[in-house]
């Protein structure tokens, strides 16, 4: 069985800040990480590998620096790493990204199960997974909490509004993994990292995957960014400091004033 995990390198958005003066992102000193949702998806794939002996390949579309997350994935236990990197990909929206990744997966061939995180923490769209499934013409199972494989069937427990449902689909299929809220990311040991250097790692370009340039980059993207700006600052309200008793008194006054109590 062959599992392909799509992973992305993202800036750690919990550390990104906006310069209030210029309204632009301050990126200096912000580290790049493996998208936490993809990190979890990879760990789920590695668990399936343990249970079934499956081969796990990771594919990442990104600039040359994204090599770091592919190597991290290899160190965590993936068998084969592919970096899909080409200037032609720059400016791709989720459609063009899904196209590129699905071409790469076609080129990889023989993939039974594709896994990825529900979303990337920089774009937050959650669209790429379903986009890949659609372009490959395979069923999708999104927002999965748990996943297992029996023969050529994948079974997953997924989130629905107000609860869960368990679904099944036959291979090939795509699953997107939701992040469990007590999740602690696993990091490889030094030995795993050194061993990963020997694992197959390739860099693929537009030519390698026979992608049609008209479907890539800015020109291939149906959506485009009109502009990017800092969220408008709200007007700062009134702040009170005082003794606990004073605070309580003022709080109650406000509740009455604003009609939240009689």
């Amino acid at each position: 069985m062959r599992i392909a995990v799509c992973i992305k390198q993202v800036p750690d958005s919990t550390q990104v800040k906006v310069d209030p003066a210029t309204g632009t992102l301050i990126r200096a000193g912000v580290p790049s990480i493996l998208n936490p949702y993809d990190h979890y998806a990879l760990e789920c794939a590695l668990k399936l590998k343990k249970e079934t002996g499956a081969e796990v390949c990771v594919v990442s579309m990104g600039p040359p620096q994204a090599q770091e997350v592919v190597r991290l994935a290899l160190a965590l236990g993936a068998d084969r790493g592919i970096l899909l990197s080409d200037r032609a990909f720059a400016g791709s929206d989720t459609w063009a990204t899904s196209y590129a990744l699905s071409q790469a997966l076609r080129h990889l061939g023989g993939v039974d199960l594709i896994m990825c995180g529900v979303m990337a923490i920089d774009g937050d769209t959650a669209q790429t997974g379903p986009g890949i499934a659609c372009q490959l013409g395979i069923p999708q199972i999104t927002f999965c909490d748990e996943i297992s494989v029996a023969g050529t069937t994948v079974r997953a427990k997924r989130l629905i509004e107000g609860g869960h449902e368990t679904v099944e689909a036959g291979f090939p299929a795509l699953a997107t993994m939701s992040l469990p809220h007590e999740y602690e990311r696993a990091y490889p040991s030094f030995r795993q990292i050194a061993a990963a250097q020997e694992k197959p790692y390739e860099v693929w370009t537009v030519a390698t995957i026979h992608a049609d340039p008209k479907f890539l980059g800015l020109n291939g993207s149906p959506t485009r960014v009109d502009r990017v700006y800092a969220p408008s600052a709200r007007e700062r309200g009134t702040i009170f400091t005082g003794s606990p008793a004073e605070i309580v008194a003022r709080f109650l006054e406000i509740l009455k004033q604003e009609n939240f109590v009689k």
Binding site: P11, T14, V18, T22, T24, L25, A28, P63, Q65, S85, D93, T94, W95, S98, D122, D124, T125, Q127, G129, P130, Q135, P139, Q140, T142, I160, E161, G162, G163, H164, E165, T166, E168, L179, H181, E182, G217, L218, N219, G220, S221, P222, T223, R224, V225, D226, V228, Y229, A230, R234, G237, T238, I239, T241, P244, I247, V248, L252, L255, E258, F260
Partner: protein
């Protein structure tokens, strides 16, 4: 492609503006490297307009597309039937404005086993035309069935805009359709308007740190998803009529590749969904432990509200994830939101900034929550909550 012209004066503003570290200075000139994703942040910030992005517009045939469509999501009712999920009405309200601006029709699409029963309600919230698609396999949402039907309907009727709720259903369905049709889809829009005949979609990115305006000028329909509690819901007008069109799209059973094995709906905590509550008392790390959250429940009870939590508190196990407020939780827009011991990081604020009145209590006078609240109190949240609850109980 992106170019830096001779106009560059070496001010380095583009270097710090780039979210991807793709700009560097070589000598006195800015140079853009491989890491560039053409997001345009540097173009914005260059004081001499030295940077430009050239592109060929993706031009599909956009003629003949008309109408604003709202995808109707049905929720399970306790009695075994279905009801229209309230977010649909919010979308209809937002869609009304767009349709009027365009001079086109506002329509609703409802798919289900017994979809026709919902037309009156949809009409009451403004739908002028309702496409009803009844299918015996459509009792519960599955991707293949719903996507097939929607794609069929869209190809046949050519709407200019289609809006979906950003729920588990909408976020599963909309990208599938967008991919199939090769059209643009923008997720989690917080703002929708018309600009030069196109749908201008505004959404947060980078965990809420930045806002982006998106357009799809060359493809139709333009599609977007919107979270519940973001758009204002208009008052319904019961008795309003709409044109009902029955579209029964046949889908081969073997095209339905994902089988539902079982479904399980959890019981709600704190009596009621947090999204529907008019008063939300929310706790963060500053509430420290279960005792702290019990205090919040006490206050919520007094004020007729529900208890929410920041991600930090949920991660500490103090409150269920179903009531997590924020970027990776739920968006709420109650009349009153009280943030207790919550620092107010962007990821949280994104989930509650639509509240009418925000009150915050935090020990740290520099907590960012104080930048978004109407009233802020610098103090120990636990103490304050406890004392206020007591006072309210004693009828003060």
């Amino acid at each position: 492609m992106i170019t830096v012209s001779e106009k560059c004066v070496g001010c380095t503003k583009c270097v710090s503006a780039c979210p991807f570290g793709a700009t560097e200075m070589r000598g006195k000139k800015a140079v853009i490297t491989d890491k560039c994703t053409l997001c345009g942040a540097c173009v914005e910030v260059c004081p001499v307009k030295a940077i430009s992005i050239g592109r060929q517009e993706l031009t599909g045939d956009i003629s003949g597309y008309s109408g604003v469509w709202i995808f109707t999501e049905l929720a399970d009712s306790p009695d075994g039937g279905h009801s229209v999920r309230p977010v649909t009405f919010e979308l209809l309200s937002a869609g009304r404005g767009l349709a009027e601006k365009l001079g086109e029709k506002l329509c609703a699409v409802v798919i289900g086993k017994n979809a026709a029963v919902h037309t009156a309600e949809l009409a009451a919230y403004g739908a002028e035309k309702i496409y009803v698609c009844e299918n015996e396999n459509a009792e519960h949402y599955t991707t293949d069935l719903y996507a097939n039907i929607m794609v069929s309907l869209i190809k046949k009727h050519k709407p200019a805009i289609v809006l979906y709720p950003s729920t588990y259903v909408g976020r599963d369905l909309a990208p599938r359709i967008a991919s199939e049709l090769y059209v643009g889809l923008t997720a989690d829009c917080t703002g929708l308007s018309i600009k030069e005949g196109n749908l201008l979609q505004t959404r947060p990115a980078f965990g809420g740190n930045i806002m982006a305006d998106i357009l799809c000028p060359g493809a139709r329909p333009q599609m977007a998803t919107v979270r519940p509690n973001v758009m204002k819901k208009n008052e319904p007008q019961p008795g309003r009529t709409a044109e009902v069109v029955c579209e029964n799209v046949a889908v081969d059973k073997d095209k339905l590749r994902v089988r539902i094995v079982e479904r399980h709906l959890d019981h709600r905590h704190c009596g009621g969904k947090i999204e529907d509550s008019e008063v939300v008392i929310s706790g963060g790390r500053g509430m420290k432990d279960d005792k702290g959250f019990k205090l919040l429940a006490g206050l919520a009870e007094q004020l007729g509200g529900c208890v929410g939590a920041s991600r930090a508190a949920v991660d500490m196990g103090l409150h269920p994830k179903s009531h997590q407020v924020g970027q990776s939780g739920t968006t709420v827009s109650p009349k009153l939101y009280v943030a207790c011991g919550i620092s107010g990081a962007v990821q949280h604020v994104v989930g509650m900034s639509g509240a009418e009145t925000i009150i915050a209590v935090n020990k740290d006078p520099n907590a960012p929550i104080f930048n978004v609240c109407k009233y802020g109190f610098v103090g120990d949240a636990r103490q304050v909550v406890e004392k206020i609850t007591e006072s309210l109980k004693n009828g003060k």
